[in-house]
């Protein structure tokens, strides 16, 4: 049984059906990516999994338990941590306070301290800016902070929404490298990307979304070579 199982979910914004029956599975320690054009429903899928939206139909199971009826904060406390689209750090708090908030649900203060130390090793840039307001960080640094903050929660599954958005090409590569390293530490990753080539390159498996439906799925490499994917997303 997969760690995260999404079965035929339908999600609405009022009357607009944004997801028209999405099913996907993420195995423990995998990197799975969702690719697709603008408005395909990638972000909506992640928001449904993390509990920010509630599917009208279908089920989501994490580690064998149904997530139906749980609040977003409960799902987060259970180990599914979402890094939403955009650089959504707490701009009016310091870098340090942002990191501390990542560990909001944890009670093991001593382990939190060691985890923070680890984050600062992983992202040395943040160490220099620990006391600085997060809103004053550069785009790349904010993205790093968002990732580090999410990792402070010791997630089992990380839902990442377009972490490379708006970053310079050199930084994009750095971001993907970081994703690989996070995964190697045992964190399962569901990655949403518009940058399909990079995402499919790093992922074990991928799903292609189009207007709220999954139109293709398979191992990352295969999708990368698939003629239809190449035509649609890779130009």
């Amino acid at each position: 049984m997969a760690l995260l199982e999404v079965a035929d979910i339908h999600v609405f914004y009022d009357k607009i059906e944004a997801l028209k029956g999405i099913s996907l599975a993420v195995e423990e320690r995998e990197i799975v990516t969702l690719v697709g054009g603008n408005g395909a429903g990638k972000s909506t899928t992640l928001r449904a999994i993390s509990g920010l939206l509630h599917p009208r139909q279908g089920s989501i199971r994490f580690a064998g338990r149904s997530l139906a009826g749980l609040g977003a904060h409960e799902i987060a406390a259970g180990g599914v941590v979402h890094i939403p689209e955009g650089r959504r750090i707490f701009g009016r708090l310091t870098v340090n306070e942002n990191l501390e908030l990542g560990a909001f649900t944890r009670r093991d203060r001593r382990d939190v301290a060691t985890d923070k130390e680890q984050m600062l090793v992983l992202f040395p840039r943040l160490r220099e800016r620990l006391k600085q307001l997060a809103g004053t960080l550069s785009g790349g640094e904010q993205q790093m902070l968002a990732a580090a903050r999410a990792l402070m929660a010791r997630p089992r599954v990380l839902l990442m929404d377009e972490p490379s958005m708006g970053l310079a090409p050199m930084l994009v590569e750095q971001v993907f490298e970081t994703i690989g390293r996070i995964n190697q530490q045992g964190v399962t990753i569901l990655l949403v990307e518009q940058n399909a080539p990079m995402a499919l390159g790093i992922a074990n498996r991928g799903y292609v979304l189009e207007s709220g439906r999954i139109v293709l799925d398979g191992p990352g490499r295969d999708l990368l070579d698939d003629e239809r994917v190449r035509r649609a997303y890779l130009g």
Binding site: L52, R88, L101, F104, T136, S138, G140, L171
Partner: protein, 549 residues
Amino acid sequence: MMRRAALIGLAFGAGAVHLAAVGVLLAMHQRWIIVEALTLGQAALLLLAGGAGAMTRGPVMGALAGAAAGVPVVALLAAMSLVPLNSIFIALSHDLFNMLTLGVGLAAGVAILIGGGAIAGLVGVLLSNSSQMVRRAIFPGAISVVVAGVFQELIQLMLQQYEGPVGDFRDFIYTWEGLSLQGAIAIFVLAALLSEVFGFIWRMRAERTASHDHRRERMVRAGIALLILVLLPMLGGSYVGQVLMLVGLYILMGMGLNLEVGLAGLLDLGFVAFFAVGAYSTALLTAGSAHALMHLPYWAAMPVSVLLAVAVGVLFGLPVLGVRGDYLAVATMGLGEIVRVIVQSDFAAPLLGGAQGILEIPKPSIGNFVLGNPVSLFYLTLVASAVAAFVAWRLENSRLGRAWEALRDDEDVAQALGINLVRAKLLAYGLGAAFAGLAGSIFATMLTSVYPSSFQLLISINVLALIIVGGMGSLPGVVLGSIVLIGLPELLREFGEYRYLFYGAVLIVMMRLRPEGLWPSDVRQRELHAEDETLALDAGTDAVPAQPR
């Protein structure tokens, strides 16, 4: 450059014309700062011209801006002498004309206005570029003179009882009419000297203790302010006590709203509802009148009132849980009004007394000592404020405080990190309401009666304005904001009708010059001044700078 200076001057001059047209200038002219030498109205004009000068660079530009500030006023004078404007603007009277021309006629008056404006502008620009040393002397000196002059009646009343050296000093600086010229000079010199001496000691100490400890410095300043607050009503008598008590009640409410708006980012214009609940609960639990449900002693009714306010706060939060931003302001305003309308309504009148209110609320007593007069009630307010401040301070630095700050910045992310949005928001409303409930409870026993008309929307707006002026999210800011926006207007009763003009002016000036507030919290200060420091750092780090969200 010249164009800019002239425009700045004209804008400030237009401000002066506005003050004249609404009548506040003439009202201010009725009050001496220094008897037979300078009125408050004249000082306001000088301040405007000086302010125009201070916003320019270089002595020539400063003088130009100051002179330009005189131009609209001159135009007003010309218009007044040509057309009988006062049939439309009743404030544009003969008295005003005399005030602006110093009673020497139009031609000489114009020369005085332009020339005086130029000099004031010159002084303004010189002061704004002067050294710390000069400023440290001039500003406290000038402020002390204004305070001593404007509040002469009150201060004289306070000093009345003294003989000996204090009495001699009083007779030296004051005539029965107000501050004398020799008194003004004496006070200016004294304040300037004290400021220099203390400034010097302060810097010496700062140099000795290697790590310049900001926190401690602030604690000391707050301590001094507190000491003044404690002693003032004892010296000032019951009028001062009453004003300070009102300030204290607003401080309590300010601290509560600060939790909601400053920390949790939940704009609330219905805050007065919690104040009303506190007041009415106390009334219903203690009053001697027929409406009372019980006749508890005040000390038992107070905590119950606070708890009821908390309950109403939580209830209040429920319907607006999903409302964000601007809509929240409107929704909470509606909720606040609902509470007032219910209280006022006829169908609740059998229980709440309707428009007639509830009377005969007893004063609290300790043993046989009844807290009957404003001064003793002020001390009750002070103690309540101190306890509340401690609670607010602890809350700010708690896990809950962090959660509030997180949801203020980004609700979705806060949830995604495991923060229970519903609970955090309801706690913000409930705990914020507790402070207002406490204030309401004291308010009820202060007036010994409660009426629905005491719980207008205006109170919510006042509280919001005072935390903005004081500094969002800052406890000392709440105190300063209350003193400036509640205490000062209360002491300057004769300008009562211009109170909201004053509010507006203060808010606009603050937003332009000091958006972080009078005494900002550390974070706000960092936030608003961080950009200058970090832009430089950022430039090299990567190609895409962060977009402000």
